[in-house]
Amino acid sequence: MEIKKTALNLLHKKQGAKFVFFAGYEMPIQYSGGIIEEHKATREKAGIFDVSHMGQLFIKGENQLAADLEKIFPVDLKNILLNQSKYSFLMNEDAGIHDDLIITKIKDGFNIVLNAGCKNSDFKLLKELLNNKYEMNLRDDLSLIAIQGPKACEILEKIIPGISDLKFMNGNSFTYKGESIYITRSGYTGEDGFEISIKNEIAEIFVEKLLKEGGKLIGLGARDTLRLEAGLCLYGHDMDINKSPVEANLKWAMSKNRIAEGGFIGYQKIKSQLENGVKRIRVGIKPEGRIIAREKTTIFSEDNKSIGEITSGTFGPSVKAPVAMGYIDNSFSKTDTKVFLEIRGKKYPATISNLPFYKKSYVKGANK
């Protein structure tokens, strides 16, 4: 298999990155300072993330495209404003999740950001679902850079004046080095931040500038601890084709009018789950002490019944304690319920916790 590299690969090397293979790409897991240092730099200042492995799909079309996409995604795309972003899912008829994504209304259609590991199959599936009616481009000539943290706005504003006016989950076009770039105020760390879609040719020089202004490059390792503390799902772990958005506790991401009217793939299942409840649901879990519960750890009730499984778990550097998420029998999902986690043959106490573990500090103007 060919190993793909992003336009920032050389810069990562220069910055002392340790690499891993992720979704066919050689990506930095961490730089010389280590995961905890990178995690804290993001929470306290500003972290820069190369997320160019993610898919940037552009679909051209007008009103008919919005109507056709509404047959696929459970969000309101007829009333979406220009440059507004929504979090959504690509589902199958059984409401199993093919992928989670961010869809943004742009001038001549929609932009959809897809997970790296799913982007090619998503592209094929969407093309099929849209009957090949629209011009679709999965752009590999574009990089995607995120800057996240309390200083992200200040740093980016110095390079791209005007970005501080962006509201959360909104974007706009800006100019850098004579080229058009597209910036949204969004991210996946629980911090205020931005994602910048930029031509590969000028990606490195742009990131060098962010570094000069005080940003720090962050690898996939800290990206994982950051998103876990923020209670955000990682596709392939906390959600997959066998779990629905209702089970994933992401009901909020589906537009109310769409849930009322239906007309999207998976609606029957979603409707039935909302009416009758679900057997299992995603929850936050806090192990007692310092023990770390990793993916696939079995969850037990106080009377020793197997009631669920951890889907991701690590040590949260900002909450200074281990954190985990998992799916649990719904009757045990209430906050503060006592459970046990089987780790290396021994059972350790834990409690069901509210998400996020770490309180968000998004800017005002958030719209869900």
Partner: protein, 126 residues
């Protein structure tokens, strides 16, 4: 000052009379990354050469700790359990893992000296 020896599993061992102090090497901590959890064997328990004698977890993953020699655990370093980050800071001194009353000194013969270990660590790259 007694000689420090090293195992292929990246543990170091320092022998004073029949008491061995055991920890993991600096090279091991560099491979593991930030250590956030450690589990040590129980005081009073017996451990067998190359057998399991604890766990370290970094932000990335869990790894077993092995004992390079057999013996009875007479002391554990509670300070690294309370603050596992110490293992990254000073793995070959302050952040020792446990002390053993050893059974058989000849078990140390197969272990590497510093020079041999450094070469081993460099060549194996793990």
């Amino acid at each position: 000052m007694s000689e420090v020896k090293f195992s292929k599993e990246h543990e170091w061992i320092k022998l004073e009379v029949d008491i061995a102090t055991i920890g993991i090497t600096k090279h091991a901590t560099e491979m593991l990354g930030d250590i956030v959890f450690v589990e040590l064997p129980e005081k009073g328990s017996s451990v067998e050469k190359d057998g399991n004698a604890g766990v370290v977890e970094s932000t990335k993953a869990a790894s077993d700790v092995y004992t390079p020699v057999s013996g009875e655990v007479i002391e554990c370093n509670q300070s690294i359990v309370d603050d596992p980050a110490k293992i990254n800071t000073d793995p070959e001194n302050e952040a020792w893992f446990f002390k053993l009353k050893i059974k058989d000194k000849t078990e140390l013969d197969s272990l590497m000296n510093k020079e041999e270990y450094d070469k081993f660590a460099k060549d194996s790259g793990n």
